[in-house]
Amino acid sequence: MDNVTTAGHAHAEHEHELGFWQKYFFSQDHKVIGIQYTVTALVFLLFGFFLMMIMRWQLAYPGQPIPVIGGLMGDANAPGGIMLPEFYNQLGAMHGTIMVFLGVVPLAVGGFGNFVVPLQIGAPDMAFPKLNMASYWVFLVGGLVMFASFFAPGGAANSGWTSYVPLSVIATQGQTWWLIGMTFLITSSLLGAINFIVTMVQLRAPGLTWMRLPFFVWTQLVTAFLLLLAFPPLEAAAFLQLMDRVAGTSFFLPSGLVVSGQALEVSGGGSALLWQHLFWFLAHPEVYVLILPAMGIVAEVIANNTRKPLWGYRPMVYSLVFLGFMSFIVWAHHMFLTGMGTMISAFFQTTTMIISIPSIIILSALFISLYGASIRFTTPMLFALAFLPMFGIGGLTGLPLGLAVSDIHLHDTLYVIGHFHYVVAPGTIFALFAGIYYWFPKATGRKMNDVLGRIHFWGSLVCMNGVFMPMMIQGLAGMNRRMYDGGIGYQHVQDVLHWNSFMSFSAWGLGLFQIFFIINFFMSIRRGEKTNNNPWEATTLEWETPSPPPHGNFLSPPEVHRGPYEYSVPGAATDFTPQGQRS
């Protein structure tokens, strides 16, 4: 023990000498790393969204020169400002990759997980601070590799975010960059996942038993397990594809493949289906990596703003853990149309129907929590409230896709795009906005502006639905996804084509409303209304430290005496009883 104390002292002395670079760039403080992740992820989200705004021009006005920025994209991509199909494919593939792997996951897990989890469990920092710093920098390298791939010969990866083989094996060099970038991102999230689990298991404050953990911490724990166990098979798949591309193997290339009229000179005998199995073994749990932290944020915000305990905390936790297990055995519902066989389809269809049950339990519990409450309509609460129906639409529209028979019609149509965007965009991203508005006072000591927040909220809500609801209509009419010309060449979708420009204007409008958020974010850092340490009158531990919390988080070691959501306890002095308060 003596050694530990000496090490601790040495560290404390070291702390005073921290220079600018160590404090803000190569920091090992979980709060700084969390903010680094948040800002980086927000930049990538904006960039990924920007790619989509360019694509929406091509979909609404196919073959017409892109206004204003058309000339900036270079003759290889858009000669005369008119987008080439190859460039459209790059934008599509990179939009998906960036939004999922560089935007939402780093924000939900790297950003909120890093900043909030140690505070909520009463820990001084993450269990392995150096590893934490490493995971951020590895993530950033991965992101920069992805970004740089736009300048590779032939441009960025263009085989969709799923990189289906054999197309991706014979694609241009950008795909190799994509695989290398993914390897960095996977490494980063592995380091992060180990760190999160150890922190949550080992560093809980005295008295913080499992059933006293805030629901957000539970969601991060399950998410970390998903990242830990689902990502390595994708790494294996990335290595296999890298071998196919670089060393000339044919793991994913079947015999007798003909490309542009010429037989490929490879040994053959590979399996294209293998890639899809390995990819979706990651990518389905990944869906839950996207949604679970969002549910956690919404649960925190709802409990706080209804001034009531969450309805059904225990069933929610059990559902969450069950959801985590089940998410590993539903992956092939993405592959009903691959010819893998009806028996396998029947199995995965069944597991898919089963996994919808715990999601519905969690969502219902959140809805029921609203019943009988006198709700405070704060900006984070508006986003959290909108999350419920939006995620509900996303979830329910998934059911016809999970049934093998109805999926035959809907597979690869815009209905699928509408479905998962409802889950991720007005679902997860709204929850992430709720989280930013909710924890901003903790990170800065100042509140974000409510008027700008409300404009941002209502504008985003209307525009999001304007983008994604027509996709359902077009998809049901049989319009395929990933179509460069927006569908004008297809006779059977002529009746729904007029939605294209409506959706595009909604997307651009959505972009305009984000400006209110960006201004609000930067303005509030300096000029926002100053707050006390617990502006929302919340119960969880992060509100028992100063805002912003000092290095080491807590002024005195916290102790926990009660559950996470003791709001409006009869007989209590206030309508909230903090977890650290003795009875």
Binding site: H11, I197, S250, G269
Partner: protein, 198 residues
């Protein structure tokens, strides 16, 4: 600021941070190699009948057997290194840790000769799916050996300083490095029969 449970065990979970961390890392490694072994099974089952070669026809069983013995011995010396620290004998620790690193290098040299022999017979990964998966899995395993050599060499020379300031913490680190090393050994124990014998 001081992170709790870096050295001592937390009573209600029964582990310290390092041990839990390394076990979680190994769990993810199981999934990584599990993904590759599953790919092997799928590719082999899906191959045209008669096209999948028998490992023994192409690969050298004597060299691989020798390497198996080398790796198992290195696992034993790794445990001895840790046990020596537990007994407070730094001299023996240096001896056993040095042997572990040395044996790992022997393994890599033998593997290099194996690879060179394949290349000299124009047996490249692109030749067949079997050779492709052979080079990929053994190559990835070789990279894990290299990683182990780097970590163990660090604990043998510069990292040994910690023994004088925090012996218990240092011993825990060697235990974690040992768990990783046994895992790398275990992968080879699976890999050897699957690729060479079946």
């Amino acid at each position: 600021m001081e992170i709790p449970y870096t050295v001592n065990t937390r009573a209600d979970t029964g582990v310290n941070n390092v041990k839990l961390g390394i076990w979680l890392f190994l769990a993810s490694e199981v999934m990584l190699f599990g993904g590759l072994f599953s790919s092997y099974v799928l590719l082999r089952v899906g191959a045209e009948p008669g096209t999948w070669p028998l490992g023994a026809e192409i690969l050298s069983i004597p060299l691989a057997t020798f390497n198996t013995v080398v790796l198992i011995t290195s696992s034993v010396t790794m445990v001895m290194a840790w046990a020596s620290l537990k007994l407070g004998d730094l001299g023996k620790y240096r001896l056993y840790m040095g042997s572990t690193v040395g044996l790992a290098l022997v393994f890599l040299v033998v593997k290099m000769f194996e690879y060179a022999d394949k290349f000299s017979h124009h047996l490249y990964p692109s030749e067949s799916t079997f050779l492709g998966i052979y080079f990929l899995i053994t190559g990835l395993h070789g990279l894990h050996i290299v990683g182990g050599i780097i970590v163990n060499s660090y604990f043998l020379v510069p990292g040994i300083k910690m023994w004088h300031t925090a012996p218990e913490r240092f011993t825990n680190r060697i235990e974690a490095a040992g768990l990783y090393w046994h895992f790398v050994d275990l992968v080879w124990i699976f890999l050897f029969p699957v690729l060479y014998l079946l």
